[in-house]
């Protein structure tokens, strides 16, 4: 009976000294399928890998003097701005207005804020896009103290924040704004808040996703119970942006 099956390696050696391209291995297809396989594994288990990296690698990266590691997607702030350039204002020129439904509309300088009782928070910063920076140290003034200084009128129920980038706004309910872990921050990681991080003064709303922590804070407006929604809320984000309980996410609360 004649052999019709594929040639054995020995036969191939005799009859076809050099393998023709048609007989060669489909390495290209294997590379593509291998990438798809790895990608699928990455989608399913990448969250765990990311978490592990954040815990193990980011302490090491923080000691990297070259700054190159800041290009790796591990444990770092990503700078988001919604306008064309980085808003910047010196601490000397900085003014924070508090107005709206208050008894005494007030304008505070950076020095005024520094003269008030400081609050220190060591808490994570969680972005709604998924990245988280662990154990960030913040220094600032409780928002509640700033509001009390201007005297909130009865009937007020909300607070609206305006950024000096001229575009960005955020809101909180008065109840949320009075929490102890909501501060008007002027120090980040032991240094004055830089322009990239929203300085000289920004909001830090610890229990909520980062978009609530309005950068380049210029004006605090006390409003009625339902202030007009802020920049990202207008684009579909949750208004009550509790970490782990909004935006369809279940991150560990801060």
């Amino acid at each position: 009976m004649p052999t019709t099956g594929p040639l054995t390696p020995e036969e191939a050696e005799i009859t076809v000294p050099e393998p023709t391209p048609e007989r060669a291995a489909p390495v290209g297809r294997r590379v593509v399928l291998g990438m798809f396989g790895l990608g699928a594994v990455g989608i399913l288990f990448g969250a765990k890998a990311q978490d592990l990296l954040e815990r193990t690698v980011s302490p090491l990266l923080s000691r990297d003097g070259t700054g190159l590691s800041s290009l790796l997607p591990v444990g770092r702030f990503r700078i988001y701005t919604v306008t064309g350039d980085l808003p910047s204002r010196s601490e000397a020129d900085y003014r924070l207005g508090v107005d709206g439904m208050v008894d005494n509309p007030t304008v505070l300088t950076a020095d005024d804020l520094r003269a008030m009782a400081p609050t220190r928070l060591n808490k994570d910063f969680q972005c709604v896009t998924g990245w988280r920076v662990h154990d960030v140290s913040w220094v600032g003034v409780r928002l509640a103290d700033v509001l009390d200084r201007a005297g909130v009128q009865t009937g007020a129920g909300g607070v609206r924040f305006h950024s000096f980038d001229g575009v960005y706004t955020e809101t909180l309910t008065l109840e949320q704004a009075r929490r102890d872990d909501v501060i008007v921050a002027y120090e980040l990681e032991g240094k004055p808040v830089s322009a990239a991080h929203g300085g000289p003064v920004r909001l830090y709303v610890a229990p909520m996703y980062g978009y609530k922590s309005c950068k380049w804070l210029e004006r605090i407006e006390v409003t009625g119970p339902h202030p007009k929604v802020g920049y990202w809320e207008y684009r579909g984000y949750s208004t009550d942006a509790w970490i782990g309980r909004s935006n369809g996410r279940d991150d560990r609360p801060v």
Binding site: P26, P73, D85, R235
Partner: protein, 233 residues
Amino acid sequence: MTALSEPGAPDAVVGLVGPTRRLPRFDRAERALHWANAALFGLLLATAALLYVGQLAALVGRRDLVRQVHVVSGLLLPVPLILALIGPWRRGVMADLRAFNRFDRDDIRWLRSRGRDRSVRLHKFNPGQKLNAAFVAGSIGLMLATGSIMFWFRPFPLAWRTGATFVHDWTAIAIALVVAGHIWMAVADSDSLRSMVRGWVPAWWAESHRPRWYTEITGLPAVDADDEQPESR
């Protein structure tokens, strides 16, 4: 001198004699596919850098606009390949895809020696180019899939969204490195690079760098001076 192809002719013609002999390497569809792909990858890498590298993001801002450009060019990514494969011009592209896929014994030897084995006789593409093509194809699929999960996130569990971001981030870094390597090598071999612009290579280049491809399209034996001399470094 009887060069069969004239300088400046729109498409290369096989010329068999004379110092200006030219061999067609990439037809118009192949070149159009390459450069359309290159333009999209360039746009995607540039907008990715603006979204991702803090200093650049701080410099340019306009996050919403940059994000939209990134998403649109990402969704366009498979279009050049699909167009190249459905039109009447698809023959050359399909032959290239088949060539990219297959690694013969010489290719494996070339890879093992990291391209230094001078006795290897290559076809149209070297195995590095084949791997690059496979990587590009794989990354188009990966980035499209993970990017879609990130953009249309609502139906997906959170862990998948984080996982997709994880894959998207690290694949992007790999793409940036591979593209940089690809450009580096192209610039180092200007005859090869120019063939992606004008379509042809000088025959001597093919004879020396791609002897089996040279023989295949000219029917002539490739006599490479390097082969006849003892190994010298």
